[in-house]
Symmetry: C2
Subunit: 652 residues, 2 copies
């Protein structure tokens, strides 16, 4: 008789050998999907090893349980594909954060049209409730076991699996998982007991993906999917995905004429079209205004710098592969991946005294980083982007005020841009590994305490991320929550203990000694590109009036009213509003529909009646007809909406 | 008896052989320095060739006469240097636009301290009035003549001259000029009759210069100088040079904290320090405002582009050596040297109809060009600069309005920035060489007529530069005249017949056909860098109030008034003014001097009296004490000065 302690289920006595399924039954852990002993995961069907006394059951609500669920669904997908397309070769099929995928080598890449047939086949496998079965090859007979695995996959023509097999270190066990008798995969597991639990799944999309993510390898066909425990959860998720798709900034960016990404121009490089450029210009104008008001000083620094600067900064040691380099006069230059060295060169161009501090150098600095082409995504992951950057140089005594100033500024930005919800994370060092960090213990303590103190002063909840700090200092990250509840990285307040000593930065203290300033590196919006992507998805393109590139469009019903429309447009423009006049020959209904498609906040209809009565008829996006008003009433209404940065009415 | 016709001196009868000096005497051409027959220049002392019947005398007031004068002064300089430093080897010594220079190879480069000794020696040579004497070697005995020239310079150890001698084509005459008996130089001439005319000269500076401008060659020591006919002219010129030096934007840029050029960062790359960045930000704000008001649409395009775009544009054929290239994902990318291709990619991202035109795409686009390091100069010639760029796409019918719009916008910029004087140049093609140009005859006629018509409509005088157009279209250049009468390149309005066809740009005309738009490429200020350099030199750093990075500084007389000064500063800031508060412990006099050195427009003194009376004492740059006023009076005065963009009072 031995006793096994189970998290959340007390202690269960066991006699003789039995499986984890039996244990789960005895413990009443009905929702167990697999289990964990120490660091090792087991299928529920596995025999309980004799030496153990504590077990965690993994459930669907736990990240690891969710991953097992998705992983089993990936095998289900692969089994169905092999039934329908026996010649397809298996790549890999892991769980990911929001579901699973499986990569297949096939002459004819899958298309969205293939998905429903595959889903049908999967449903068949689910309805027969086939078991997942592990075959484990004992360590003692390792040589033999590898050979038998090799011959198994060779017989099946699974060349990619053979490649993976060769990469498994000799000291590691080789295991395969069957689903029923037909399908087998090289896999560590664990898996669900059987396919019957995978009732509620959906295949979402197909995409190309290089084998092992290397563009020199063949392109595989990747199918994405997701599985849920209940039909309701699945339905809710699909609805959210549909909503996310409606808000997809890449689609809206194209449709609303905001920006393009051009294959011809280069991957990950954004061309801001007039309306997107106007949106960015408005944001930049606001950004400059707020920063100047808050005592920041502006800097413009060049986009290329001699590489020596990045040797001094240390970036050549740990960031080289992300930097674009070129040759100028037989010297190596770098297309800057960050703005810090430029600001430091400016700091060093004068001798500073404590009287000058704090110095807050701000720049909308465009940087270029060599992100892998496979990771590029719309405005969110690009190769060229403008950081709303600033570096604060200050004394220790000024730290709390300075950091609080940054966080308060961020809060004001969130209010003004309409993000009431956000999440704060504090990344601190791992004190067990103190020697891997730049800066003294004392500096880390001061810095971490400063960040905590500021968050406490402002009553901001935060998640403390132990050991998540980068080597050069602790930081605060703030993620914005959008209208769909998704999180988007925005603000970073980052101490930098690396650059100061490397460049030998100093100031003259009041006692005449040379002291090292603290350096706080911060961005409020993150980058113009990512923030505008966030804004588009948050508002589904229905921007608040103050941010709308075009705030109103005049729709003359007939040619006869065109001149009057021009006159009204002139009055609105004079009042600082951004308007345009529709010039097409379409019918009014078509003009209104087009204006709505373009998500224009105000559509101003002028027909014979409006001209006679000297006013306009107003349609407000998301609200509909506001009826007749005078031009002055309209201007007052719009100006008020701009000044208060009012939230928009939504059309979606 | 023959008759020689002389420009401006009628016809002179001559008998037998004689020199040009005799001819000049007979003609009463007292100011003749040398003469020209057809394309050939002669010394006055030369015999008049028998076949000629027309002569121009070159005088000091003619560009060619001025050049002879300076060239002779360069020989005078070299003769003096050889007397003082016999081991120095002669390089070359030409006349240049604003004087002359001579390059010397010497172990110990000259310094400014050497100049006065050399000037003394030159004066000695002037006072003895040594003759310039030409030795010409007849074509028939060419072989012999080269050899004798070779042995002449070999004997004197003039190795650089021997190098030059080798480069003279065999069909060309070899000539040398003596000054007195000691000094001899390989030289085409012509020269003045003797050194006595060179009374009024000045050596100005020394600099390093590579032999033949090639950085792989030895560095020579170059001495710059200038010579005038009268002492008054020389004095006036030196005064102007001193004034130009006081206005040197590189010196003021450093002293006023506007910008730095950093060897560490890279040659020709500008780091805008806070005050310069604020000045630039103000200019950019004005630029955006005016452009949006004038119907321009904004664009932001990336700084790097795939090189294919520049192959399509043709820049790889004729601009390659000025472009920085790099490798991204094994593809070649270019750091853009101009913004055109980016704007064209944006144009091509939509189908355009005649209803969309004109389109005016504007961008403050930063470009990078590989200018040779020897040509870099402060903000005026750099490797990275931001063009205030725009491309107008329009129909032929819209051309006059569009071009006039650009020129009128430029005129408004000149008024607002305080440049009442400017020069307009119209560059047209050489009709003799019609096939070297892109675009049809008809397009060139339309374009050139458009430019002329606009200049006529606006009653602007212009200089027509025949054959000066670049291959892709005619243009207008406008140069600003600064307060010292110097000219600075600013505006360009340039037709482009190259890019449209190369990228296949089109729009749908009202008759449904596909038509090619006209493209007008324009910059009003030229570049932010050069324009700010121009502004600094124009105003000698005494910027008008609306452009001043810091408009006022509060000077509390003692610590007791610091808080009051802060309060007043707050009121000014609230009113949209840019102010700072002096924090040093210096005496008031020192504070005022520092504020004047910093060229701050307003110095606001607050002492006990001002606090008691609730006002301020105001000192205005260039005007002095304005006495006591209330804070509101001060604000009103300053706001009015900003709003009217009033010209500054100058301190210099």
């Amino acid at each position: 008789m031995r006793k096994i302690k189970i998290s959340n289920h007390g202690v269960v006595p066991l006699e003789g050998s039995c499986t984890f399924t039996t244990l789960a039954d005895k413990a009443g852990a009905k929702d167990a999907l697999a289990c964990r002993v120490g660091d090792v995961l087991f299928d529920l069907g596995a025999e309980i090893p004799s030496a153990i006394s504590e077990v965690d059951f993994l459930t669907y609500d736990m990240p690891e349980g969710w991953a097992v669920f998705q992983h089993s669904a990936a095998h289900l997908l692969a089994a169905a594909v092999k039934r329908l397309f026996p010649d397809v070769k298996l790549g890999i099929g892991p769980a990911i954060d929001d579901g699973f995928y499986y990569d297949f080598l096939t002459d004819k890449p899958f298309t969205d049209n293939d998905l429903s047939a595959i889903e049908q086949e999967m449903k068949g496998i689910v309805s027969t409730d086939l078991p997942f079965r592990r075959e484990e090859l004992s360590r003692r007979r390792e040589e033999l076991s590898r050979k038998s695995a090799e011959s198994l996959f060779k017989k099946r023509g699974e060349n990619l699996k053979l490649e993976l097999l060769k990469e498994i270190p000799p000291e590691e066990k080789v295991t395969v998982y069957y689903l029923g008798d037909e399908f087998v995969d090289l896999c560590r597991g664990p898996h669900l007991p059987s396919s019957g639990q995978l009732q509620n799944f959906k295949l979402l999309s197909v995409a190309g993906a290089y084998w092992k993510g290397d563009e020199h390898n063949p392109m595989l066909s990747r199918i994405y999917g997701v599985a849920f425990r209940s039909a309701e959860e699945l339905a809710r998720h699909l609805e959210k995905l549909a909503e996310a798709k409606r808000r997809d900034h890449r689609v809206l960016g194209q449709r609303l004429g905001l920006f393009i990404l051009s294959e011809e121009g280069g991957a990950g490089l954004v061309f801001w079209k007039p309306k997107g450029a106007m949106l960015r210009h408005i944001i930049e104008g606001y950004w400059y205004e707020q920063h100047l008001k808050n005592g920041y000083q502006l800097i413009y620094s060049p986009h290329i710098l001699r590489s020596g600067v990045f040797h001094t900064s240390g970036h050549f040691d740990f960031y080289r592969e992300n930097m674009f380099t070129m040759s100028v006069d037989e010297q190596e230059y770098v297309l800057k991946p960050m703005n810090c060295p430029g600001h430091i060169i400016v700091y060093q161009s004068e001798i500073h005294s404590y009287r000058d501090l704090p110095l807050r150098y701000a720049e909308l600095g465009t940087v270029y980083r060599n992100e892998r082409s496979g990771t590029l995504h719309g405005l969110l992951r690009v190769r060229g982007f403008s950081i709303d950057d600033a570096h604060i140089f200050c004394t220790q005594e000024q730290l709390v005020d300075e950091v609080r100033g940054v966080v308060e500024l961020a809060m004001q930005f969130y209010r003004d841009f309409g993000f009431p919800n956000f999440k704060v994370e504090l990344s601190v060092r791992d004190p067990q590994n103190a020697d891997k960090y730049a800066g003294s213990d004392q500096m880390w303590q001061v810095a971490e305490n400063t960040l905590v103190q500021v968050l406490d002063q402002l009553s901001l909840e935060f998640k403390r991320m132990e050991g998540e700090a980068v080597f050069y200092g602790p930081k605060i990250d703030i993620k914005l929550m959008d209208n769909l509840g998704r999180l988007w990285q925005a603000t970073t307040v980052q101490f930098d203990f690396n650059l100061g000593p490397r460049f030998g930065l100093e100031y003259a203290a009041s006692d005449g000694t040379r002291q090292a300033p603290y350096i706080v590196h911060r961005a409020v919006l993150g980058s113009m590109e990512r923030f505008v992507g966030t804004l588009i998805e948050h508002y589904a393109g229905d921007f608040p009036l103050w941010l709308s590139p075009v705030q109103a469009r005049l729709l003359p019903i007939a040619d006869a009213q065109y001149e009057y429309a021009q006159k009204v447009a002139g009055q609105l423009t004079q009042s600082g509003l951004r308007v345009e006049v529709e010039r097409s020959d379409e019918k009014l209904g078509a003009k209104v529909r087009d204006g709505e498609m373009q998500k224009l906040p105000y559509l101003i209809v002028v027909g014979k009646k409006e001209v006679e009565q000297g006013g306009v008829s107003v349609r407000l996006r998301g609200k509909g007809d506001l009826g007749f008003m005078t031009v002055n009433q309209l201007i007052e209404r719009m100006q008020n909406e701009v000044e208060t940065k009012a939230a928009p009415f939504s059309t979606t």
